[in-house]
Symmetry: C2
Subunit: 148 residues, 2 copies
């Protein structure tokens, strides 16, 4: 079963021009063409594209994803490299989640801050609260925001 670029783009939820751009950049060396030059995507191409999408979500750049594609093209002799690559991505994503969790902590502090300000009608109230007056889990955050 083959798909045109438009069909595959729809299946993936991206623009067809994005797939053409990826192809131009050398990320899709596996895509076949019809006699008249039209791209013919198949199901294994879909799987490839899903992995490209996944790697992109881990924060990898297209030029590095391209290198991975070429590792796959090399076959079984690049298995070790590919395993290492995914282990690296795992670490990266875990770091990103941790960073977002810290960001969320600050956002939650600010939500509390403005809830408190809203009730009082002024930000002076949360601003002037002593450390003991604020929820325990928020104290560290406020200190971080003020100090070094």
């Amino acid at each position: 079963m083959f798909y045109t670029i438009g069909e595959m783009a729809k299946k993936l939820g991206v623009a067809a021009s994005t797939l053409r751009y990826y192809d131009k950049e050398g990320l899709l060396p596996f895509v076949e063409r019809s006699e008249s030059g039209i791209r013919m995507f198949n199901d294994s191409d879909y799987e490839f594209l899903k992995i490209i999408e996944c790697l992109k979500h881990t924060g990898m750049q297209l030029k590095d994803i391209k290198k991975f594609i070429y590792l796959v093209m090399e076959g079984d002799k690049s298995i070790d490299d590919r395993l290492l690559l995914f282990k690296k991505r795992k670490e990266e994503v875990e770091k990103q989640i941790e960073k977002l969790q810290n960001t969320l902590d600050v956002v939650n502090f600010k939500c509390w801050y403005y809830e408190t300000a809203k009730k009082a009608g002024t930000t002076a109230v949360p601003d002037n609260m002593k450390d003991e007056e604020l929820p325990e889990e928020l104290r560290k955050i406020r200190t971080q925001l003020k100090n070094e």
Copy 2:
């Protein structure tokens, strides 16, 4: 206590040119200047910059962060708007964490895939494994990657 742009940049771990850029874009209307035109940052400016940093980490664009800065400048009458803004950022960050968690699931599948391929010396082994042969938590992921 005042800081020059270089000192504040160092304190924040960014380039001084970045702070100048933010200023040019109107994100730092609160920064004072000396008679000779040199920026003088103080501790409350640091707090502002930490919040700008936080909002940036939530995925907000500078032009939208600028709007927030102007809400702060308006004083207590914009408390409700600011609360709403942070509630929105909270939702956004939670969504991003969820997305990264899904990405991590795929990466973990790929780690297992290449560990298995490494042991066998070929990707044919994990490729040809029946659903029942792979760890339960990975089955859904493989199906997702292959199908729609």
